[in-house]
């Protein structure tokens, strides 16, 4: 297992990834492990919470859509997928990646799926941050006339 990708990190990355990106990488990589569902893909809601004044007591902000899935590969590895949105295929692919990452194919899966997803996310974020940086205000003080 890599230092960069512990299970928590890859599950988060898979949850945030655009479904189309994961689908493309998954199809290209050609993994098609046999599996059986422990929990077939299911769409539901999660109540998102905030804190009063950002640091105080929790309150309910509103729900978000989430799709989850749990499956077992032929070798017994169990994978879980919890992904944002209503993509059943997204959740299944996330669960399969999660399961494969626990086995001998981890290195290949990481190179074929996780690393490209992480790079794409990093570049999306960097592009936004760079645009935000361009809108940062530089204050200058006007010279006063009286002296």
């Amino acid at each position: 297992m890599s230092d960069e990708f512990d299970r928590k990190a890859w599950m988060g990355l898979l949850a945030r990834a655009p479904a189309a990106d994961l689908d493309r990488l998954w199809a290209r990589a050609g993994f098609a492990p046999e599996h059986s569902y422990l929990r077939p893909p299911e769409v539901g809601g999660v109540m998102v919470r905030g804190r009063a004044g950002a640091t105080g007591a929790p309150f309910n902000l509103g729900e978000m859509t989430v799709t989850r899935c749990a499956l077992r590969l032929a070798d017994g590895a169990v994978g879980h997928g919890y992904v944002q949105g209503r993509g059943k295929q997204h959740a299944v692919q996330a669960a399969m990646v999660d399961a494969l990452m626990q086995g001998p194919q981890a290195k290949e899966v990481r190179a074929a799926v996780l690393e490209p997803l992480a790079e794409a996310e990093a570049s999306r974020r960097a592009a936004r941050t760079a645009k935000a940086a361009a809108t940062k205000v530089d204050f200058f003080t006007m010279v006063r006339g009286e002296d």
């Binding site: 009063a52 902000l61 509103g62 919890y82 645009k131």
Partner: protein, 362 residues
């Protein structure tokens, strides 16, 4: 009372078929796609997500299309869909301090660490119609700059260090949920914040404006306004740890309000808080002002009898789906009710006339 009536099925079917045709508009004009709405009418999408209380841009865009741009109708569709979803659980409270900010401004501290970042704002535009948008143009490109590394801490933290601002009591208690249990009054702050964040933007805006004009005056500065993406984490029982299940764009507004102190509280600044799904700046600022006005009791302030201080008035009228449901139901058939009213008025008239004739005869 609403009384069920039979009949009109054909008329209803035909009305809905005509609705579909009108929704499409002139077939010579290209049909609008859901993706176009999601990408190009994103502020409307954000409002539908915030008041529909469900973060899903694709669904909100679909609802806007189906509702022909009637945002309250779209919110209604989202609320109805939301009730069909099984609830997987609740997230950990989001950490807005770790937000990746598109925008972050403060009206109180010019030199806040992290700087004043304007983001994609309507502020400082001239509000002149841009006729270039009426023609198909080139794809615009935003300039970029090298970001300064480092965190963007909450500005309130600085006032907090000096003890000049009221502290938020720390807690990890499970908040009440008005989508699960009927709202009970008096409401705690958690319940009020939930009602406000999903409340009607127009209603919250007007109440906030009323506090600025002197009804429950509490002069507010925007200590900080930030918009950006935050991670949503949830504990997964089958894993035994928490993972990120996605990220949401939020608008957060923290206000700083003058406070002279009371019997229980020293002179200090107090805070109002707004947190809303999406880029929804007007709503978040308004929410913070109304939140602050509703806190008069816990801060030991005087009840000025202002609408924005009246918890029942605010919370029971903030929801536009409840409001429109009750308002619009009066257009549905009330024939039986009205028949009885008609009978009553006729009877009263007969009695009144009889009385008058009797008086004249005497």
């Amino acid at each position: 009372m609403y009384v069920a009536v039979k009949g009109g099925e054909r008329a209803i079917d035909n009305a809905h078929a005509w609705l579909a045709e009108e929704r499409r508009g002139d077939p010579a004009v290209t049909e609008l796609s859901v993706a176009q709405i999601r990408e190009q009418l994103s502020i409307a999408v954000n409002r539908v997500m915030a008041e529909g209380s469900l973060y899903d841009p694709d669904l909100a865009a679909l609802a806007i299309k189906q509702a022909r741009g009637d945002l309250i109708e779209a919110i209604f569709l989202i609320r109805a869909y939301r009730t069909t979803l099984p609830r997987f659980g609740a997230s950990l409270p989001v950490d807005t301090g770790a937000m990746r900010c598109d925008r972050r401004i403060s009206a109180t501290f010019k030199d806040a660490p992290g700087g004043q970042v304007l983001g994609p704002t309507f502020d400082y535009t001239h509000r002149l119609l841009d006729f270039k948008l009426a023609a198909e143009g080139e794809t615009p490109h935003a300039p970029t700059a090298t970001p300064t590394p480092g965190p963007t801490p909450h500005i309130m933290g600085y006032l907090d260090c000096e003890g000049l601002i009221q502290q938020e009591p720390e807690s990890d208690s499970t908040p009440p949920d008005l989508t699960r249990e009927p709202m009970e009054l008096p409401a705690d702050r958690a319940l009020r914040l939930q009602a406000l964040t999903r409340g009607d933007e127009g209603f919250i805006l007007s109440l906030a404006y009323s506090t600025q004009r002197g009804y429950a005056r509490n002069h507010a500065f925007v200590g900080e306004l930030r918009i950006g993406a935050v991670a949503v984490e949830m504990g997964i029982p089958e894993l035994g740890f928490a993972i990120e299940i996605g990220e949401v764009v939020l608008t957060e507004c923290e206000t700083v309000n003058q406070f002279k102190g009371s019997k229980t509280e020293p002179p200090q600044f107090t805070r109002g808080y707004g947190l809303v799904f999406g880029q929804t700046e007007r709503k978040a600022i308004a929410m913070a002002l109304v939140d602050r006005a509703l806190r008069w009791k816990e801060l030991g302030e005087e009840d000025q009898g202002a609408p924005a201080q009246d918890e029942e008035f605010v919370l029971m009228h903030a929801d536009n789906i409840q409001a429109t449901g009750f308002l619009e139901h009066i257009k549905l058939p009330h024939y039986v009710d009205f028949q009885s009213e008609l009978e009553l008025v006729r009877k009263l008239r007969r009695e009144a006339e009889g009385f008058a004739t009797q008086e004249a005869a005497e």
